[in-house]
């Protein structure tokens, strides 16, 4: 019996620990100007102040940041999907000299932390003339080792018979890849989309380096910039943060199953 109480205490304690920062953010985003600095702080705002939401939207280029983030995320996701499914297909289904070396390179790329190579990445972006552009933010993340790895595993699992039947029907390689096999990797595609979406949406250090002009900021860079300029306006930052959280929450909650599968794929299980 006491074991059960202990178990629920632990579950609830960490549940509260996980939830409270979100609730606090939400509450801050709905507070009025004076209430923000009230001590003791109040959990539930006196009046629901939706003005912070319209305020953040109007007073800074929040809409522009959002649009930039949407562009960066959708192009990055599409490129990862395209490039990783092409390479994953070749690594899983085709035979050619150097195949194992290519696969090793994928694994090596997975192990290189972006934080460490940020300087040469930046000088490449400079050399390509892409400094301070969204393309400069996107291209270094156009395909990640993890995406190729994930797609390779998915293509490996398709039975040999399907491939043979398609070849008998006179299918070209491109048709085999696109029409026959790609639709069969849907779960992996789902995983790839969510992982890339959430990773790119939250990415900070790289866009911070590349983007200079505030008109080019992504949401995360914009939010961090706001915490600098709006030091006294917690309410706007809070409202902006809530807005920037909505897309990840929606994507995660609707596609949880694929997400969990991805965590396991990342662990080799």
């Amino acid at each position: 019996m006491s074991g059960r109480i202990l178990r629920y205490t632990i579950i609830l304690f960490f549940g509260a620990a996980a939830a409270i920062p979100f609730l606090w953010l939400l509450s801050t985003s709905l507070k009025g100007a004076e209430e923000i600095f009230a001590f003791p702080p109040s959990f539930i705002p006196d009046t629901l102040n939706t003005g912070n939401y319209t305020g953040v939207w109007e007073s800074i280029s929040f809409g522009v940041y959002t649009l930039n983030s949407i562009i960066v995320v959708s192009v990055t996701v599409l490129l990862n999907l395209l490039l990783a499914s092409l390479a994953g297909f070749a690594l899983a289904r085709l035979n050619f000299p150097g195949k194992s070396i290519f696969f090793l390179l994928v694994l090596a790329a997975m192990m290189i932390p972006k934080e460490i190579i940020i300087i040469p990445l930046y000088s490449t972006v400079l050399a390509l003339g892409l400094d301070d552009t969204l393309a400069g933010v996107i291209l270094p993340f156009a395909v990640e080792g993890f995406s190729i790895f994930l797609m390779r595993q998915a293509f490996l699992q398709i039975p040999k018979e399907i491939e043979e039947a398609a070849i008998m029907d006179g299918c070209s390689l491109l048709t085999l890849w696109y029409r026959v096999m790609l639709p069969m990797t849907k779960p992996a595609i789902g995983t790839l989309v969510i992982f890339t979406f959430i990773g790119t949406w939250g990415d900070f250090i790289w866009p911070l380096v590349v983007l200079k002009n505030s008109e080019n900021y992504t949401l995360q860079v914009g939010l961090s910039y706001m915490t600098g300029t709006f030091v006294n306006n917690y309410r706007y930052v809070a409202a902006g943060s809530v807005l920037a959280l909505i897309p990840v929450l929606v994507v995660f909650l609707t596609m949880q199953k694929q997400f969990r599968r991805g965590v396991f794929a990342g662990t080799g299980k």
Partner: protein
């Protein structure tokens, strides 16, 4: 299937990007680290000078020490996430709800998570100091004084990580043999005995994995500091922060590359040691 030419066509686009933006840059930082390079004047070969300068910089040693101190989050994360994985192991509706809840911090962008926690830790109006004042504890300078500010950043790391590692442990738990557990129950083993003698030994691969992932990411902490304690002195920062400042505020690209090389070696060394130690322990 044997189709050499098309195979390379399938691989080409992906490997072009992978080469340009992952493999080549890694080789480049090793190369840059032997040069004095600030992007403006032509770079000059300086041999090991960057490394020599690095080890004689007092700030370098303090950020290195801090990076090691941040590794303290690893055992904390393992204990919490393992405990929770065992607690919500059965697939009930309630447990699934909590699994989802624990995972929400994981998907929260780091910038937003940092902002959220900064407000909780704020000294005058923060939530934490208010809760502590209810217990009769005076105001703590969670963000402005060392070492509390490092502790605050660690809390953020733990908050944002435990749900992820719990998922890895749940995947590991799914492979734990039920028969062994049932046999132990029949023999009258207590719950704790079951955990320590049946479950933990079988979870060793997952524990190693979590050790490797969480220590590698603890060594790379940057955004957390940038958002939560931006004004604090370099002595409170970590290796990646140092590398970043040297590169993008002082434009010492060569010097910063040397720091990057050391960080890479450190990360690899750590992962290797973790795997070695745990596989050695498994043999005993």
């Amino acid at each position: 299937m044997n189709n050499k030419a098309p195979a390379y066509l399938f691989l080409f686009p992906a490997f072009l990007f992978l080469g340009m933006f992952a493999l080549l840059p890694m080789a480049q930082i090793a190369y840059y680290s032997f040069f004095e390079d600030n992007l403006i004047i032509p770079k000059v070969f300086v041999g090991l000078e960057n490394y020599a300068e690095l080890v004689s910089d007092r700030n370098f040693w303090s950020v290195l020490l801090n990076s090691f101190i941040y590794l303290l989050v690893t055992p904390v994360l393992i204990i919490i996430s393992l405990t929770l994985a065992i607690a919500v192991r059965e697939e009930t509706r309630l447990n699934n709800f909590f699994r989802t809840l624990y995972f929400l911090p994981v998907i929260t962008p780091l910038v937003i998570a940092g902002i959220m926690w900064r407000w909780i830790f704020t000294e005058d109006t923060g939530l934490l100091n208010y809760l502590l004042s209810l217990l009769g504890i005076g105001k703590v300078s969670w963000l402005s004084e060392s070492p509390q500010n490092m502790f605050s950043v660690m809390i953020l790391t733990v908050w944002r990580g435990f749900g992820y590692y719990m998922m890895i442990f749940l995947a590991g738990l799914a492979l734990v043999s039920r028969e062994l557990e049932e046999a132990a129950e029949l023999d009258g083993a207590s719950r704790l005995q079951k955990v320590f003698h049946i479950i933990l030994p079988q979870l060793k691969p997952s524990i190693t994995l979590v050790f490797v992932i969480s220590s590698a990411s603890a060594l790379k902490i940057f955004t957390e500091l940038y958002i939560m304690i931006p004004g604090s002195p370099m002595a409170n920062k970590t290796l990646v922060y140092y590398l970043f400042t040297e590169a993008f505020e002082r434009f010492n690209f060569g010097y910063s590359s040397a720091a990057g090389v050391l960080l890479f070696i450190l990360t690899l060394g750590f992962s290797y040691a973790n795997v070695k130690i745990s596989s050695g322990a498994a043999k005993e």
